[in-house]
């Protein structure tokens, strides 16, 4: 081995060792790297009693209820399998709307309602002009019932 080959092997070994160490570290940390839980994960594992959690899901269509004359709002957050009701008192972000991805931070109370202290909007990765979104919505409305829907 020439000195140059030895140095190349050293650099390669160093990179491989660090990659392996990082992989083991992330396998060990596992779920603690998740920034929020989904309603299904919460339903499967049960709410951590008394601890604050973040819950992320889509706002169920037609579930947003505001108390007249107050800032309090209730809505359901759902993924494909489960739903959780969220109660929140405060200003909602611009992107908050039905069908939108939302992350709420708070505690689960005795009734299973998430009493939220903070509500953030999770924007999706789709970008399109308003006219195209409108025509896609119309296309979805005409061919409903089980047909694969075009993404909004």
């Amino acid at each position: 081995m020439t000195p140059r080959q030895r140095r190349a092997a050293l650099v390669g070994g160093m990179a491989a060792g660090i990659a392996a160490a990082a992989a083991f570290a992330f396998l060990a940390i596992g779920e603690n790297m998740l920034w929020f839980f989904t309603p299904s994960q919460l339903a499967a594992e049960g709410p951590p009693p008394g601890n604050r959690i973040r819950l992320g899901g889509l706002v169920v269509e037609g579930s947003v209820r505001r108390r007249p004359g107050a800032l309090e709002v209730r809505f359901d957050l759902a993924d494909r399998a489960a739903a959780v009701t969220v109660a929140y008192r405060g200003l909602l972000p611009d992107l908050f709307r039905e069908g939108q991805g939302i992350v709420a931070l708070g505690r689960i109370d005795a009734d299973g309602v998430l009493q939220a202290e903070e509500v953030l909007a999770k924007h999706d990765e789709t970008y399109m002009p308003p006219a195209i979104a409108e025509s896609m919505r119309e296309a979805n409305a005409t061919e409903r019932a089980g047909a694969p829907t075009v993404r909004p």
Binding site: W35, L95, K122, Y127, M128, R151
Partner: protein, 240 residues
């Protein structure tokens, strides 16, 4: 042929000849991309006009990764072949990469407040990008702390290669973990989920940013080489 450009003097001259070929196309692409993104592209169906920050934010974030990959490659080459040019490239990359990373974090924060409702959250994407900024700053600080340039270059090279592990973490963070940051838009298996009228100016800006990086890198490498070799005959000839 490549051996010839491993000599600082020849590399210095080569950089000088290449610079106009990078600078002018960069300016043209930047102008076209800015016009396309800020004027020609339609507003977004959900975010309205506010989404236009992606024409700065996304290329900055891409470049923050690309510059790091370039820096770590030069660092490995410097460790293996011990060429002074590779060492100069390594340290010249660091401030450029730090600037792109800072710009990505800053523009993301400005966008996050109106869209998410928060300036900053500690999710995996944002945190790993912040770690990248600290890696760049660490390399700059380490280089400044060691007076002997060759020893400084070796220490920086090792740190740069160690930090390489952050790049896949940043890129895949939005797939591996639940994050507030949205998932991949452009580099997806099922094709980009962005309308072509918005994607075109985004790619123009990305190309302009890449040329900008290349041009600034060559300028910085020239300065670094002149500084390191300041007592040599060829630098005296350049100055004369």
């Amino acid at each position: 042929m490549f051996r010839r450009y491993a000599s600082p003097r020849h590399f210095h001259d080569l950089c000088g000849r290449l610079l106009p070929w990078l600078g002018w196309p960069c300016a043209a692409l930047m102008a076209a991309g800015l016009w396309g993104g800020l004027v020609a592209a339609p507003p977004d169906y959900q975010q309205g006009e506010a989404y236009r920050i992606i024409f700065i934010h996304v290329p900055s974030a891409w470049l923050s990764l690309l510059v790091y990959a370039a820096m770590a490659s030069a660092a490995a080459a410097g460790l293996i072949w011990r060429t002074r040019v590779a060492e100069a490239v390594t340290i010249a990359c660091a401030p450029i990469g730090a600037s792109f990373t800072f710009l990505a974090l800053l523009t993301g924060s400005l966008w996050g407040k109106p869209m998410w409702g928060a300036w900053w959250v500690w999710d995996a994407r944002l945190t790993s990008e912040l770690v990248l900024l600290f890696l760049y700053l660490g390399i700059i600080a380490l280089h400044g702390a060691i007076p002997d340039p060759r020893k400084a270059a070796r220490a920086c090279a090792i740190l740069a290669i160690v930090g390489l592990v952050d790049l896949p973490i940043i890129h895949f963070s939005v797939e591996w973990w639940n994050t507030l940051h949205q998932g991949q838009t452009v580099f997806r298996l099922d094709g980009p989920s962005i309308h072509p009228s918005m994607l075109a100016p985004l790619l123009l800006m990305a190309a302009a940013f890449t040329l900008f990086f290349a041009a600034v890198l060559l300028m910085r490498v020239r300065c670094e080489l002149l500084h390191r070799e300041r007592r040599r005959q060829w630098v005296r000839e350049v100055r004369a």
